[in-house]
């Protein structure tokens, strides 16, 4: 089958009435929650995860993907209008986007973000369609040793890209992996770390963990600050830019799309890295008389395109290898597993409708975002001013109902509360919870591959170095870790994150 018949199969799925409806709901809910204060894509997806469990897998994934880019777009909107980036990917958008808004060019900045995102999304969709199948074919030849090495590399990449201390990120991944081992052992069925309680027999529920750390934990953290949000209301009507202005954004959008797509594929990448890289490149190339940081439109066009391109191409390792490159993809993998689908290279051949349906729905969803957001911007602006006071009881209510609905077990509610406290303290102590989630999601698989590889090699750990692909991946892992630990790189890295 060539790429076009595959895409046709995908569109058949994505354009079915049910799926288009759920895609729409996802995009709408995602944007709606994304513009609300204190809620980024991860928290949004975690909160809405339980809603999708009753849906068929294709529809559920389409809706979740819709929520993801909806929330991301919502984050950009708040970044531009209130100078409060809702998610790390739009931190750089806030720099120039908000300055533009202050100069009365909010409409132009929002238009640029929307169009740039749409263009990047379109390109990324085709990239996924083109690159994912061959990558999956390569992955099909992987044995357990290669898989183990690939996962280790993925986790190492997560470490290098985490903010702050490297050793804390390693500790968080390890803790995530450990929490993932709770429950029945895959091989012997022996209960592990259940401490005599039946409630732990199936291990810790992934959704309870994610909702606790990213939902409840965030609420507690937000109670610390009493920021006032004042969005800029002026000149939203001038959405369509002049020809001159339009010319200004073309090249940054193209460059941003390229950079974002590339960095999104890398394990540990995703949206954030791309937007930062794009911003610094645009800053160097800019011929704009307006300096960066004071409302240069390139500083919105490039990063926003990169952001969205990266968000989409990060689906490539998730869909083809079953490896999450960022916490959002970890949530997606968790959702797939709950749907009874083991993420990995087999998904393309065994569930082509799911694979191609999700990919084409991304394009459909991006088109919806464009159509939906430009006219609805007035409503989003009003939502941004919802005081957090009114908001957090609602988040708590949704989280409580959602987590209970997983298995109608009050224990999941207790777990969520406990992980909320843990999540809060981890952030407070500068330990990022995102690597913890990554570790938790792939912990069981990592162990399975390790045990299988060791069984095949009769207990000889050299197997990981004798197989060329696995050896290469592990060497890359070591290089990645050594590089971040080098004193000179460490300093630069700290500076880069501070910027």
């Amino acid at each position: 089958m060539d790429i076009f018949s595959n895409l046709a199969l995908g569109f058949e799925q994505a354009l079915s009435l049910t799926n288009i409806w759920y895609c729409f709901i996802g995009v709408l809910l995602g944007t709606l929650i994304g513009v609300l204060p204190g809620l980024g894509p991860v928290a949004t997806i975690a909160m809405l995860l339980p809603i999708t469990f009753g849906l068929p897998p294709v529809t559920a994934m389409i809706m979740l993907a819709g929520i993801y880019y909806g929330a991301q777009y919502g984050g950009s909107t708040t970044a531009i209008l209130v100078n409060l980036p809702g998610e790390p990917g739009s931190v750089v958008t806030a720099l120039d986007g908000h300055q533009l808004a202050r100069k009365g060019k909010a409409g132009f900045a929002l238009f640029t973000a929307a169009v740039g995102s749409f263009f990047a999304g379109t390109v990324a969709t085709f990239l996924i369609a083109g690159f994912a199948p061959p990558l999956a074919n390569v992955a099909l030849t992987f044995g357990p040793a290669e898989y183990f090495a690939l996962m280790v590399l993925g986790l190492a990449a997560a470490v290098t890209l985490a903010h702050g201390s490297v050793i804390k990120a390693i500790a968080m991944i390890t803790l995530g992996l450990l929490l993932g081992t709770m429950g029945q052992d895959l091989y012997t069925g022996a209960p592990r770390f259940t401490f005599g309680s039946n409630e732990f027999a199936d291990g810790i529920d992934f959704t309870a963990l994610a909702m606790g750390v990213f939902g409840i934990g965030e609420i507690i953290r937000n109670l610390e600050s009493t920021e006032v949000r004042e969005p800029i209301r002026s000149k939203l009507r001038d959405l369509i830019p002049t020809r001159e202005e339009f010319k200004q954004i073309i090249m940054p959008v193209l460059r941003g799309t390229g950079i974002g797509s590339l960095l999104g594929i890398l394990p540990g990448g995703g949206a954030v890295l791309g937007s930062f890289a794009s911003y610094s490149i645009e800053k160097k190339l800019s011929k704009n008389p307006v300096p960066f940081g004071q409302g240069a439109i390139e500083g919105v066009a490039g990063p926003e395109s990169a952001n969205n391109a990266g968000a989409q191409t990060s689906f490539i390792p998730m869909l083809t290898l079953g490896i999450p490159s960022n916490p959002v993809m970890a949530l997606m993998i968790g959702a797939l597993i709950i749907q009874g689908i083991v993420p990995g290279p087999n998904v393309i051949t065994e569930k082509p409708d799911l694979f191609w349906g999700v990919i084409t729905s991304m394009w459909v969803g991006n088109a919806m975002l464009l159509i939906l957001n430009l006219p609805l911007i007035g409503i989003w602006v009003r939502l941004m001013t919802v005081p957090y006071q009114l908001l957090f009881p609602a988040i708590i209510a949704v989280c409580c109902i959602g987590v209970y609905s997983l298995s109608n077990n009050p224990f999941d509610v207790y777990l969520m509360a406990i992980f909320g406290v843990i999540g809060y303290f981890l952030v407070k102590l500068d330990c990022e919870p995102a690597p913890l989630l990554l570790g938790f999601v792939i912990g069981k698989l990592l162990e399975e591959y390790l045990r299988r590889a060791m069984l095949l090699s009769r207990g000889d750990p050299m197997v990981f170095l004798q197989r060329p692909i696995s050896a290469t991946l592990l060497i890359l892992t070591v290089i990645a870790l050594v590089v971040v630990l080098l004193p000179s790189v460490r300093k630069k890295r700290e500076e880069a994150f501070r910027e």
Partner: protein, 153 residues
């Protein structure tokens, strides 16, 4: 005499060591096996050792290098939020969804600032009605609106 020079790292280290200790205790009942035929305890054992090592390193950093203070913790909000969530789990089966959710939401509003009872009751009513409409009527979640403790079934 050791002094805590980097409180954030110091407490992270302590926390990680405490967690490692819990897992180490749990490891006792698990057969470790060999590298060839790993038992259920092998992989967790490696991880526990790694976590302990990380904990010790971070703890040492907390004593040997300077760093920021942990900062103030909103204990009031933290406790109220946690208790209100726990309350939902504890009362849902007995009270049913409507009273349990109302209690949780009402209690949680006290975590914020500047609420008066009227506003808190108003938000509670609106949220409970909205949640019943969306989750029970709309999405069809199998939740009893009123439980046995208040005369439901």
């Amino acid at each position: 005499m050791l002094t805590i020079r980097n409180p954030k790292d110091f407490f992270t280290g302590l926390l990680l060591l405490a967690i490692s200790a819990v897992f180490a205790y749990g490891l006792f009942e698990l057969p470790i096996g060999t590298a060839y035929k790993m038992g259920p305890g092998y992989f967790p054992m490696v991880l526990t050792i790694m976590l302990t090592a990380c904990g010790l390193a971070i703890l040492a950093n907390g004593l040997l290098s300077d760093g920021e203070a942990v900062g103030t913790i909103p204990w009031r909000g933290l406790i109220i939020i946690t208790v209100s969530v726990l309350l939902y789990g504890a009362t849902l089966k007995g009270l049913g969804m409507v009273p349990a959710l109302a209690l949780t939401v009402f209690l949680s509003t006290f975590a914020g600032h500047g609420w008066d009872a009227k506003a808190a009751i108003g938000v509670t009513v609106v949220l409970v009605v909205a949640c019943v409409a969306i989750f029970v009527k709309g999405l069809g979640l199998p939740l009893a609106l009123f439980g046995p403790w208040v005369g439901g079934y």
